[in-house]
């Protein structure tokens, strides 16, 4: 009996290849697009989070506020309100701080051996290594002595090394020219990854005093990076810094503050919410594909109802019991949706792999939820619309079914 049912199902599906093929195609497209799109969204979210974590841990950043000239804002960071003394005060007067690194940053043209590149030159202190999770790969970072004496030494990122000296070259002891002055390369950082504007490997570090004397030409700093000792103390530390800086800058109303303070959790939260929005967008597109696929399945199943109703009438007339007719049509719907679902999962998986292969910064991540969701929706639609009309037809009297137009 079961063998007959199985054979009849397979035969019926293969005798109507176009019909079966189109139904499977609808399912495959629906499922594959859901899986691939959700995998891309998830991958984007993961890579954003990874990039942010690479910045450092328990990080609080203070940057100058917007300068107001006659009531007109000049934009964030335009004020020259932060000084090294502010940084020292934070370090000395506030508890639960691991390290404080003031930075004075300037984009400069850098040349070496006829190669040149335009990159970020960051003047900072030794604490920067702790605050921003930077490690040294070759040579060493500058020390206190070099900071005090405004030594013309530089530590470069691996991308900058590649641009100036070529990959695999040893940059230690080489000379680079920044702003028409010679600097000696004394170290290179470990690659952190990241890309575009936030590439933390395309960078040149020099002592803060050196940057102030030779590059920015003033005593101001662009930012103070603070690492709190742990996650729990971050809120308190952030409040204390705000109070301290307002007192030092003689500001009584926090709305008038000439600096901005931000912690890493805020950045992560913002970026995660952007990534989530992105995932929702992709999921909606995927959902629409699934809907379209579902309608396709429904159409295929319903347009064949006329022909199939007569077939059911004939089967009943020649004496096949209702239960076997129902079972056969159910089995057909199950085989179609499972075959389509299986192919759809494979195709979605391949599409995700292709995206990972060709977009180096994005590692897609296939989620089990999307597989289960896509599969069950299409299986549900397929089985309901494949089985329900057949069941109705099998309940008709054979004469009515045979006459069905």
């Amino acid at each position: 009996m079961l063998k007959d049912l199985f054979k009849e199902t397979i035969w019926s599906l293969s005798a109507n290849k176009v019909r079966s093929g189109l139904t499977i195609l609808g399912i495959v497209i629906g499922i594959a697009s859901v899986i691939a799109l959700v995998a891309i969204g998830q991958g984007a979210k993961n890579s954003i989070e990874k990039n942010i974590e690479a910045i450092g841990s328990n990080l609080i950043m203070v940057s100058p506020g917007s300068q107001r000239i006659g009531g007109i804002s000049q934009g964030g960071g335009s004020a020259e309100s932060l000084t090294v003394e502010d940084a020292n005060a934070i370090k000395n007067e506030i508890e639960n701080i691991k390290a404080v690194a003031p930075t004075a940053t300037k984009r400069s043209q850098i040349t070496a051996k006829g190669n040149n590149t335009n990159t970020q030159v960051i003047g900072t202190t030794e604490d920067y290594l702790i605050v921003r999770n930077v490690s040294i790969d070759l040579g060493s970072f500058f020390n206190d002595q070099q900071l005090k004496s405004s030594a013309k030494v530089a530590v470069i990122g691996p991308t900058t090394r590649d641009d100036l000296f070529g990959t695999e070259a040893d940059p230690i002891g080489q000379t680079i020219r920044i702003n028409k002055m010679d600097f000696m390369v004394i170290g290179m950082t470990v690659a952190k990854g990241g890309s575009g504007f936030s590439n933390q490997d395309d960078v040149v570090y020099v002592p803060l005093t050196t940057a102030q004397h030779y590059l920015t030409g003033n005593e101001h700093i662009n930012a103070i990076n603070i690492a709190a000792t742990d996650q729990n103390s971050m809120v308190v530390v952030q409040e204390q810094i705000t109070t301290l800086l307002m007192a030092r800058h003689k500001i009584s109303d926090s709305a008038d503050a000439d600096f901005n303070i931000m912690n890493q959790n805020d950045i992560i939260a913002t970026a995660t919410s952007i990534a989530s929005t992105f995932t929702i967008l992709l999921s909606s597109i995927a959902g629409i594909s699934l809907l379209v696929g579902g309608i396709g399945i429904m159409n295929m199943m319903l347009t064949t109802v006329t022909e199939r109703t007569r077939e059911i009438g004939l089967r009943k007339a020649v004496g096949i019991r209702k239960i076997y007719i129902n079972l056969q049509f159910l089995a057909e719907a199950v085989v179609l949706t499972f075959l389509g679902g299986f192919l759809g999962i494979i195709l979605g998986w391949i599409m995700s792999l292709i995206v990972t292969r060709f977009i180096s910064t994005l590692t897609t991540s296939i989620s089990l939820t999307s597989i289960i969701l896509a599969f069950s929706v299409s299986a549900g639609v397929g089985i309901i619309f494949g089985f329900y009309p057949a069941r109705r037809a099998a309940n008709l009297s054979p004469i009515e079914a045979l006459r069905y137009e």
């Binding site: 109507n16 004939l314 007339a317 020649v318 004496g319 096949i320 209702k322 239960i323 076997y324 045979l402």
Partner: protein, 226 residues
């Protein structure tokens, strides 16, 4: 073999009762070739559906081989049709895109017979119905009308039924092919099969040995030809 007593069938459409059959009683013996003839609306199709166990009468009794058909449920009716009745329809009703052999084997589904036994039986029935062996593997939609009806006759024979019910079997065929199909049915009757033919054409009805005339849901005339 077939015994009908006081068969009535009433349809209710839109609150109006239509009496399709009014107190029909008759019997048919094994080996007979009977035509049931009547104009459209006479109730002959309703009678055929009841005789074919496709429908049950509103009242009255219908015995087929001593089974009281009017008391059976849906599954029992299915089993009865499978074992006792072979149908030949006006519009052939073959499965499309399906080989001749598979069409003939359809009633043997879920019968527990082996595949080779089924095919052996189907080949015998097809030869019996006068089908050329070269066409056994053709798809049903590649056949002519006459060939399709032969396949349908072979399908009707496959379970060795007590009666063969032919509902306007020549309705979709030209005169020459009609003649061939009717000759094939007559041949089956000579071999001992009971055949009931439903038609509205006198020419076709005349192939039978006995003609039951139906009009307005009642038997008008029951004539036995010699």
């Amino acid at each position: 073999m077939i015994n009908c007593r006081n068969l009535t069938k009433t349809y209710l459409t839109g609150g109006v009762e239509t009496h399709a059959l009014k107190n029909i009683s008759f019997s048919i013996e094994k080996g007979e070739f009977v035509s049931i003839i009547g104009p459209s609306g006479s109730g002959k199709s309703t009678l055929m559906h009841i005789l074919g166990a496709l429908d049950v009468p509103t009242s009255g009794e219908y015995f087929l081989d001593n089974h009281e058909v009017s008391k059976l449920n849906d599954d029992e009716l299915s089993d009865l049709r499978k074992n006792k009745i072979g149908f030949v329809f006006q519009s052939f009703n073959l499965l499309p895109r399906t080989t001749v052999l598979r069409n003939v084997m359809l009633p043997l589904l879920y019968s527990g017979l082996s595949e080779s036994e089924r095919e052996k039986r189907a080949r015998e029935c097809l030869k019996y119905a006068g089908m050329e062996e070269g066409k056994f593997k053709n798809l049903s939609n590649q056949l002519s009308g006459g060939q399709m009806q032969r396949v349908a006759i072979a399908r009707a024979l496959i379970n060795d039924p007590s009666i063969i019910l032919a509902d306007e079997p020549t309705g979709n065929l030209d005169t020459k092919t009609s003649h061939l199909v009717m000759e094939a049915l007559k041949e089956l009757n000579k071999k001992g099969h009971t055949i009931i033919l439903i038609t509205h054409e006198m020419d076709v009805a005349n192939y039978a040995d006995r003609i039951i005339h139906i009009r307005d849901g009642m038997i008008e005339k029951d004539e036995i030809k010699k």
